[in-house]
Every structure is written in structure tokens, then in C-alpha cells.
Symmetry: C2
Subunit: 422 residues, 2 copies
């Protein structure tokens, strides 16, 4: 019998312990309606990390952090020199986020490793649970900074000058954060700084879409992630008095934004409703009701599973805007570009085998959301485990997966990690 | 020879002194490009008031404040019991405002009264220079709170709960402000609290429009003010994950705002370009690039000189929005409604006579901007004096009127005040 199907291991996963930990963490940054607002690199974030570290140290895991704040909890294998298996996700949330997005992948990793240790399963390879810095991009855009830096996708100083809504730079927030965690063991920034490449990376996450629930399934064996392109658009006109300036003489940045988004809606129209196009962040200057807007900045979040569509439509964004606006100067900056990725079949097989061995209903499916996992693809064999999300609601306080669904996910994760760690 | 044409009085108006005072005040809240950002009820505002008070006391004016923070500088007439003539304007600015909007009307009032006193012109009536609280509405919306409360247009506690961008209520800001000025003499809130009705009110202001400059004129004899209606629109949808939520299932508040403003643009279309329709303040929640917008709030500033158009189009705003939006709950709140007003011919004649006597070119013209003067119309004979604004630019650091233009305006104001005060 392989470790993946060992009854001891499966039985050692505790639904109650995992749920209790999630609920304890959900209190840190709790907002009305069962939501959580826990931005990265804040005192709340550090409080959540300390809670997690306490649980990890209590079962004998070793704790370390890297220069961009990624947190690692290590279970030592019988061959410490062998490339480790990694699992994990992130602990930050959207400003009006839920209790499961990200944090469950970290807690599930701990639950899986704790079950492996308590059931006496010996793994050759070490298993490292990671909590990546700033996956959400809610405080500092874009997201996935921790995994992008770690994997070598982008230099770690790429986002030094990015500011949050209070004008704090990412560099300063990170420096404050690292000072607050200077008591923890330090480690290099992954393979970029000479650290070992993992043997495999397997991330557990809620689906954040409606499919598993709608089809009555337990487990999503994630086959890959659609591509994402993020843009920041700045329209710069001229302020004027709302009562005196004739409309025909204005350079009104709000009106040019209306023109730009209307034209983008036409560009992005998709009768099949596969394409995702979102304008969700708008800043106006001076943003006072009786002064014509001088500047509008708005974001574009554009995603598609087909690389061709991602390139064609994404590259057409700037000209579409320039053709639509009448009076403003236009600046379009691409801030994030992640091509669609396919996950490794070895990792997918390990997840699918674990689900089947436990009698769970699974399906191979792509991910609509992006995840830290996509930046691990060039580094090592990578995959993900999904559990159902109620009505597909996510980035919202109403986000929900049941204790039973999350326990099933942790059991599959434990078995797959045990298989991969050998 | 009437006092309005007394050569001594005209000669006593000092172009240099007035300009120097304006430049001293412009340093308080200076922003790049010769602009000023001096919100009401702030330490900066109080610093500007203290500077003004110092100049007033130095020439023997008596200083007092009322319960909503309006500041009065009184020149005593030979008959202290006679209804006073009032002049003045406001000292607060837009967030990216200029050096002349509002503040010139206060400084010109002081210059005119100083010239009257120094030239030995005796007036029967007292002259009171007023600086009204929060005309701009930039920090607390709507504007003209000081004059609306003083004139009895609205109870003084109407705006207690209005908050600024930092969440400070108007009530708290006013309480802090009054405490900081508790050393000044206190007076009742005008006729509302039993104070005397003025004999007349005459406000000097920059035009904030292009007409006087374009037509080579020195003085605008203001015939009235177009009507204004301000609305706050809230669209409430549902947040969702930008990567997973199908567009067809979203309740995206940004997209409904695009629909609403597009429909409003059609409603407000005016080939003659007389109508003023402005959307200049937008707030989005949660305002993060990868979470579909749950809430959008935007303002509407709508103005027209014709009362019928103001009623018809203004009353159509809510239904136009409701018909346009697809997915969000809609709340439309009217926050400000000022009907078009006509100024008194007695005051207009006094201004026009003063301009003619000084050889200045004047025209009777309506005001596109609203002013505290419009709330004085039901209280006493009211009028305004305009001087040219370079290119009509206002609510902008580039706002400009020359020392010569402003001095001409102060001379006309001095002569008209002397005439009205008898």
C-alpha cells in the first residue's frame, strides 16, 4: 500500500482542527458578514503569521523567512539533502475578502504535514509549507510579488516604488515587516539566490468559481491557469469650474474615461463569456464635485485561457483607448503579464490518484483565478488542488467552503504530498 | 459730487497693498503652479483669518464671529443703529484652487473700507466685511453653508453629519474651529437669531468665465446667478473575483456607472452649450483592480440659468439612471438645490454708476458660478461685481486676474459701497 492511500494518514487529518485554525485566523481582520480584510505586510498580517508559526513550532517544524517576506515551515525528510516538496499559498486577503482564499492553502499544508507526522508516515524528501508575500495585490499591485521574486520571474526590487492608498511604498512596508520578524531564521530568496529547486510544488486553494459545486464534485485537479494582463490607464485633462466652463471647451477626464471604457467593452465583447474584463479601481483628481476632473486613473484586469486572445486583445487596449478619448493625454502602462500555464501531469496524477483512492469525485479543470502556482511552473513540476466554493463567490465576505469540503481537500493534499515526497 | 465719484476715495484704493495682501494669503496653502489648497475650518484657514483680522484691527475695524464660523469686520457708520451694508465673500479654496476665487472678495472689501476711512468719506450706515464659512464645498459638501445658515435658507445643524475625506464630521470640525477662535467677539447668526437685516449686500468676485477678458471689459455688473442642483448617486452591486466571475453573472457597479453617465450625457445634451453637467467625484468600493466593484458613488453638478430646464432635466435624472443601469440598486440623493436668482436693480445701478464714473467698461451679465450672494437675495437687495479671469480659468492653480484688474474692481466696490452706505 502506497503512502497515498495509507488509512492512518487519511484518518490523521482533522476536520475540526483545520476548521478551528481557519476560524481563529479569520478573526484577525474580521469585517462584517464573516469577511476578512488582512492586507499584506501589516501588523494584522504578522499577527496571523505568528499564530501559524506557533502551531508549526508546536509540532516540530522549523521556521524561516526570505528577503521578500515569504514564510517557510519545514518538515524534515529522511534525506535532508533531497530536493523538497513544497506546498502552501498566501495569507493576505482582498480589502473585502473572505475566510478561505489563500489562507486555506497554508492551513491545509500544515494540516497535511501534521497528519503525515502524527500517522508515522516517513517521507524521503522534506516538505516545506510556504506563505507567499502579497498574492492578492490588494494593498500593493500587482499580486504574486513573493512568488514572482522567489521564482526569478522578476527581480525582488521591481516593486520598490509601488505605493499603497496611504502613499507607503512597498519597499518601506517590507523593511518594517522584516524588522518586525528579525527574530526568525533567514533564508535565501529561493533558487534565485542559490537555494535548492523544489522537487514539486502543490498548492491547495478554494475554486473561486461555481463549477465543482454545480457538478456535485469534491476535488478539482487543476490542469493550468488562464493568462492575465493588468494595465493602469491615466487620462490627463484639465480642471475647470463646473459652473462656468462650457462643456465644449472642457478637457474632462471623467468623460474621457466613459468613452475609453465604452470602447474597451466593445473590444472585449465575448458572446461565449469566457473572456474576463474588469475595470474595478478608479481614482479621480481633484475628485471634488464642482471641479471638472483633471486626472482619472483606472485599472484593467483582462484574462483569457487562450494565449492568442490574450495577446491580440491585450495589445489592442492602448490604441482602443487612444481612439476613444477626445480631450485627454493618455498613458497606458502594463503592470502584470502572466501567460496561460499548463500544470505538470505528474502532479496532476498524484492529486487525481489520491482523490480516487479516497472515493472522492474529481475533475481536471483550468483555474480562472491566477495563483502563486503559475510562477512555479518554470521552476519545478507544479499543480493545484481545488475544493468547491459556494456559488463561486470569492473576494467577498460571503465566500464559503464547508468544513467537510475543506477536510476532503486536506486529505487529498496530504496523500499527494506523501506520494510526491516518497 | 456723490461719494461714489469722490476722487479722494478712488485714489485711496491701493493696487499694491491689495495685491500684496493677496500674495501673503496665497502662501497659506500654496501648491505648485501658483495654486492654493486651503480647505475650510482647518489650521491653514484660521491662519489666513488671523492675518486678515490683524489688518482689520490695525485700521480700527471691530471683529466678530458667529456660531457657524462666519467672520465679520465692521466699519462703524455715523448712525450705528442703521441697517449695515455688507460686502465680502469666502476664504476657502478648492483642493487645487487658485489665488483669487473668494479671497479677493474679502480682501477687496477690506481695501474698499480702508480707502473709505483713509479718504475721510463718512458713511451713515456701517459697512461689514464678511468671510462666509465653506463656500466651496471642497471639504464638506455642499458649499455655501455659512451663507445658507446665516440667511435662514437652511438650519445651521443641517450638515452636522457631513464628513470630509478623512471621516471628520462638519460638526466636529466646526467645534474645533470655534474653540480655536473663542477669543474673538461672538455675535448671533444674522437675522435668523435676531440680528439686523442688512440694507444691501454687494460681493466682489473674479468672473471665473472667459467673457470679460474676451470682450475687453473691466467690470461685470452681475444681473443674477444660474440655478444649481447637486446629486449624489450610489450604485450598489456585488463584488466578485475578476478572474472567475463570468461577466454575464456580475453585478458590476463600475459598468452600471458607465451606463448611467452615458444616459445622463444624452439627457443633458445641449447644442447651445449653456447647460452645465459635470460628474467630477467618483468613489469605488472596494476599489481594488481584481475585485469587481460592489459600490460606486458619483456626484452630479447640474446648472442652468432657466428655472424650467433646471426643474425638467434635474427631475429626470433619477429615472434616467434607473432606466440605464442593469444590475445595481440605485439611490439618488439631491444634496443641493439653488434656483436661479435675479439681483436687485438698485445694487446693479450702484455698481454700474461707479464703473461709468471711473471710465471703466462694464456689462450686465449673469454668473455661471454660484456664490454666497445668491442666499442673500431673499434677505436684502443684493448684487455682485466681477473682474476678468484670464481665459476663464478657475478652480485651478492657473487662475489669474492682474493687479490692475483687481484694483479697478476694488475702486468700483469702494464707490458702490460708499453710495449704498450713504
Amino acid at each position: 500500500m502506497s503512502s497515498a492511500t495509507a488509512p492512518n494518514l487519511i484518518a490523521a487529518v482533522s476536520q475540526e482542527r483545520q476548521w478551528d485554525r481557519l476560524m481563529q485566523l479569520a478573526r484577525l481582520g474580521a469585517i462584517p458578514g464573516d469577511g476578512v480584510n488582512r492586507p499584506c505586510l501589516t501588523p494584522l498580517d504578522r499577527e496571523a503569521r505568528r499564530l501559524l508559526i506557533g502551531w508549526a513550532e508546536a509540532i516540530g517544524l522549523s521556521v524561516s523567512v526570505d528577503p521578500i517576506g515569504n514564510l517557510f515551515l519545514r518538515h524534515e525528510g529522511t534525506d535532508p539533502a533531497a530536493a523538497p516538496v513544497m506546498t502552501g499559498s498566501h495569507m493576505d486577503t482582498q480589502p473585502a475578502g473572505g475566510r478561505f482564499d489563500g489562507i486555506w492553502g497554508v492551513v491545509a499544508g500544515l494540516e497535511a504535514v501534521q497528519a503525515i507526522r502524527e500517522s508515522g508516515v516517513r517521507t524521503t524528501r522534506s516538505i516545506e509549507i510556504v506563505a507567499w508575500t502579497n498574492e492578492e495585490g490588494g494593498r500593493f499591485a500587482p499580486g504574486c510579488m513573493g512568488s514572482m521574486a522567489w521564482s526569478g520571474h522578476s527581480p525582488a526590487d521591481t516593486w520598490d516604488a509601488v505605493t499603497d492608498n496611504d502613499g507607503v511604498t512597498f519597499r518601506d512596508a517590507l523593511a518594517e515587516h522584516r524588522a518586525a520578524e528579525s527574530d526568525l531564521a533567514q533564508r535565501p530568496l529561493g533558487p534565485v539566490e542559490g537555494g535548492p529547486k523544489p522537487y514539486a510544488y502543490l498548492e491547495a486553494h478554494i475554486e473561486q468559481g461555481p463549477r465543482l459545486e454545480a457538478e456535485g464534485l469534491d476535488i478539482g485537479v487543476v490542469s493550468g491557469i488562464q493568462g492575465s494582463r493588468w494595465f493602469l490607464v491615466e487620462l490627463r485633462g484639465e480642471s475647470a469650474h463646473a459652473g462656468t466652463a462650457p462643456l465644449g471647451m472642457r478637457r474632462d477626464a471623467v468623460q474621457d474615461m466613459i468613452r475609453a471604457v465604452t470602447a474597451l467593452n466593445a473590444l472585449m465583447a465575448d458572446p461565449e463569456d469566457i473572456l474576463r474584463f474588469t475595470v474595478a479601481r478608479i481614482e479621480v483628481e481633484p475628485n471634488t464635485s464642482n471641479s471638472v476632473a483633471e486626472v482619472v486613473r483606472f485599472t484593467i484586469d483582462f484574462r483569457h485561457p487562450d494565449k492568442e486572445v490574450l495577446i491580440l486583445n491585450g495589445d489592442a487596449i492602448e490604441n482602443t483607448i487612444r481612439s476613444a478619448v477626445k480631450n485627454c493625454d493618455v498613458t497606458v502602462t502594463e503592470r502584470f503579464h502572466a501567460v496561460p500555464v499548463d500544470f505538470d501531469t505528474v502532479v496532476q496524477d498524484a492529486v487525481e490518484d489520491a482523490a480516487r483512492a479516497q472515493g472522492l469525485r474529481s475533475v481536471r479543470m483550468p483555474s480562472g483565478a491566477f495563483h502563486d502556482a503559475q510562477f512555479m511552473v518554470p521552476v519545478c513540476p507544479t499543480g493545484m488542488v481545488f475544493v468547491p466554493s459556494h456559488k463561486g463567490i470569492s473576494h467577498n465576505p460571503a465566500e464559503y467552503s464547508s468544513p467537510e469540503q475543506l477536510a476532503a481537500g486536506a486529505r487529498v493534499l496530504a496523500a499527494a504530498l506523501a506520494t510526491l515526497a516518497g
